[in-house]
Amino acid sequence: MNTKNKNKNGISAFLKKDVYLSRLIVLMLLWMLFMASVRFESFYSLINFQTMASQFPEFGLMALGIMLCMITGGIDLSVVGVANLSAIMIGTFLNLMADTEGNLPFYGIPAAIIGGAVVGVIAGLLNGILISKVKIPPILVTLGSSELFTGISIIITKGKAISGFPAAYSSTVAGKLFNVIPMQLVFFTVMALFLAFLLNRTTFGTKLYMIGTNMTAAKFSGLKTDRLIIKTYVLSGICASIGGAVMLANYNSARADYGVVYTLQCVLIVVLGGVSPTGGKGKISGVVLSICVLQMLSSGLNRFPQVSSFYIPLIWGGVLILVMVLNYFTENKKIKSPKTVLKSLSGQKM
């Protein structure tokens, strides 16, 4: 027991414990160094950090939701659909509560956001019940529900964008706390901290990891797996709704088809952050780190006008593949030497 404690302390111990995360950190530090050397003033400016911090929460929140579902061995592809529908509902509520001059009561914004979160709860219930009780694979359920929610959004908006909300909403939610910290970041941080607490320090979190590790053993251990799965997808739905709330503030409008690219992008973020798609593994810190790395990459690239921003997906995808290949070599170092790997590549058995 004593030797364990000795190793628990110290950065080297931390790095050894999670090789994957440490690799991401190294990547981030390298990039930060690079940006410091070539574009110091524009990158390391308050404005830039504020911009980055206001841009990522909308999909960052969705990524948190997807992460939760992936820990249980599932996935939530309906986050964007839920976010858009929530945004539309929030906008509708805002308009309902506003008086003729476009002013909102003091409870207006929180109430509207809660209204949007209700959408997330309902979505989560639908997803969760279909997955746990009807036993449809999560990828298919959330695929179908994504279409369903997007479809409902289209019906409500008749395919158009809705706007014209009280300006107070956007100036608050897309505003700055203490004039420095973007509110979007606050939303994200609160949710991330809450989920981190849930996962690390509560029985709920432990049970989720166990379900993702082995659902059968979880049932045999007396875990109420159905209820836990439903709660997970409800939480994911709420994350998506808040993401929608942020989107509404950022764009000042709501549409059924905003953020379509976010679905796969968020899965990429989550996987890069060390969450295993088969379940049972993953930490909030990993996902946050992954978001930071990718956001810094995008933002940094924007400083080079010769490099079109379209290169960003290329780099994100490339980073993911690179990391996976590196993982392959480290994990298999335990079993094969590089020489044997090359030999097996040429078709011979190991």
């Binding site: 027991m1 364990k4 320090r201 509560t202 029985t203 709920f204 432990t206 049970k207 990891y209 166990m210 590790t213 082995n214 059968t216 053993a217 979880a218 049932k219 045999f220 251990s221 007396g222 875990l223 109420k224 049972g280 593994k281 170092k333 335990k334 079993i335 011979q348 058995k349 190991m350």
Partner: protein, 494 residues
């Protein structure tokens, strides 16, 4: 003297610095029935994978019928008459019997196109060799375990096989099916085909093999004729320790029964089950696969609610319609397949042991008390003497015996009144088996009521205080282990 069909000399194999095989040699004569025994993790599987070409040895020599090879691919091993039937039978559940049978030969003959007529002919010939009657077009996933194994055996016989290696072939078979299997092995011997039979079940070693080899920790301990082997010697070679035989006498069964079951039925699985269980008793429930014994256990654990009948725990009628309800009534269940049902393999010992009682280690809103959790983990690691360099290591790194101890610990930490164990020592090495029996008997002495489900008759006879036999969903006999024997038990089971 005829050449050995297989001879391996001084095989060494390491994985990332860990020596799995430290120089093992083995010889098998044509038509010989040879048993390879050893505890889990001793290196048997690695040796087999090397013989069949899946792994390459770091050093050593492999001879097939006199010809020396240093490197072999799976196809080359097949071409030299070596066939392996793994525990999962390596079948394709989603494909038909015919395809399962014909693929190997089609691939070996480098056929690129599918010729159904040719494949059917091959398949028909294959099943004829052991008189196996089966629908060639049936998808393999619809067959019983025994029939899946027969498909695997038929397939193995197709290539002019000279040596068939079977990895723990009897694990999922009923007694009747084991007998059929042994008959087939003898049949093969008559045809000149040798069998290398991996097992750790002593009675099987005695029953079928002519020669045996025992491996322990990657080293060959002994090779010899089975006629020179006995119980004590076998145990000693396998574990390096000596054990006494145990027979359990319950201390004293006093008081009201802890569990009373009346007319319990679940349509299609079991009916009219009646028994009562007292503190300190160890009830042995046995029967062939399909007798309903596992379903009964699952019903008692709340996994599948019975349709009819009553269950009383400590005098109170209870309804067991969920695992939670069973747990709250003091019932625990150690599952049959510890790997997929009992353990979270990638997690450490701690997580596995405390998961069932985790709510009690947290406060009202669910926040974990990490100190309490650690204390609980430490306590159990010590009590069950689980040997591991680091308790945070994944359970998949532990031996079968240690793994079973962890599953036990999980339930013991809840202090159940009734503990149901399904196949508690299946796949467990002799040393751990003995230790687990001791643990169970100590628990009974302390007042716990135990139900052990097992088809290991010696185990039932030595550890239980009462035996119940099930057949076709009904109880056919309740016996006192001291007044019965193996023959009588088998009679009631079949």
């Amino acid at each position: 003297m005829a050449q050995n069909v297989l001879k391996v000399v001084d095989i060494k194999k390491s994985f990332a610095g860990v020596e799995a095989l430290k120089g093992v040699s083995l010889e098998i004569a044509p038509g010989e029935i040879h048993c390879l025994a050893g505890e889990n993790g001793c290196g048997k599987s690695t040796l087999i994978k090397i013989i069949s070409g899946v792994y390459e040895p770091n050093s050593g020599q492999i001879e097939f019928s006199g010809k020396v090879h240093t490197k072999i691919t799976p196809i080359e091993a097949i071409m030299n008459g070596i066939q392996v039937i793994y525990q999962d039978f390596s079948v394709f559940p989603n494909l038909s019997v015919m395809e399962n049978l014909a693929f190997n030969s089609e691939l070996a003959n480098k056929h690129k196109l599918v010729n159904v007529k040719r494949m059917r002919k091959i398949a028909k010939e294959a099943i004829a060799r052991i008189n196996f009657e089966v629908d060639l077009d049936a998808k393999v996933e619809t067959l019983s375990v025994a029939n899946k194994q027969l498909v695997a055996i038929c397939r193995a016989l197709m290539f002019g096989a000279k040596l068939i290696i079977m990895d723990e072939p009897t694990t999922a078979l009923t007694r009747k099916e084991v007998n059929s299997l042994f008959k087939i092995i003898l049949d093969l011997k008559a045809q000149g085909i040798a069998t290398l039979f991996v097992s750790h079940k002593l009675d099987e070693v005695f029953e079928i093999s002519e020669r045996f080899t025992i491996i322990r920790s990657g080293e060959k301990i002994i090779t010899g004729n089975t006629s020179e082997l006995d119980n004590k010697k076998f145990t000693f070679y396998m574990t390096g320790r000596e054990f006494d035989d145990l027979a359990f006498t319950p201390k004293s069964i006093v008081g009201d029964p802890v569990m009373e079951v009346k007319d319990l039925s679940l349509s299609g699985y079991f009916e009219d089950i009646n028994f009562s269980l007292h503190k300190g008793e160890i009830l042995g429930l046995t029967g062939l696969l399909g007798s309903g014994r596992t379903e009964l256990a699952l019903s008692l654990f709340g996994m599948r609610k019975a349709d009819k009948g009553t269950i009383r725990i400590k005098g109170k009628n209870v309804v067991l319609d969920s695992v939670r309800s069973a747990m709250e009534n003091g019932i625990g269940y150690v599952p049959e397949d510890r790997l997929s049902e009992g353990l979270f393999l990638p997690r450490g010992i701690g997580d596995n042991v405390v998961i069932s009682e985790i709510d009690s280690l947290a406060n009202r809103i669910g926040v974990l008390d990490k100190a309490r959790k650690q204390k609980e983990i430490d306590r159990w690691v010590e009590e069950l003497s689980i040997a591991t360099p680091n308790p945070d290591n994944a359970c998949s790194t532990l031996s079968g015996g240690n793994q079973q101890r962890i599953v036990l610990a999980k339930w013991l930490s809840r202090e159940p009144d009734v503990l149901i164990l399904n196949g508690p020592t299946m796949g467990v090495d002799i040393g751990s088996k003995h230790d687990i029996h001791l643990i169970l008997e100590k628990l009974a002495d302390k007042g716990m009521a135990l139900i052990i489900i097992s088809d290991d008759i010696p185990e039932i006879l030595s550890t239980c205080s009462k035996i119940m036999i099930m057949k076709n969903g009904r109880i056919t006999a309740t016996l006192n282990p001291k007044e019965t024997n193996t023959q009588e038990l088998s009679q009631y089971m079949m």
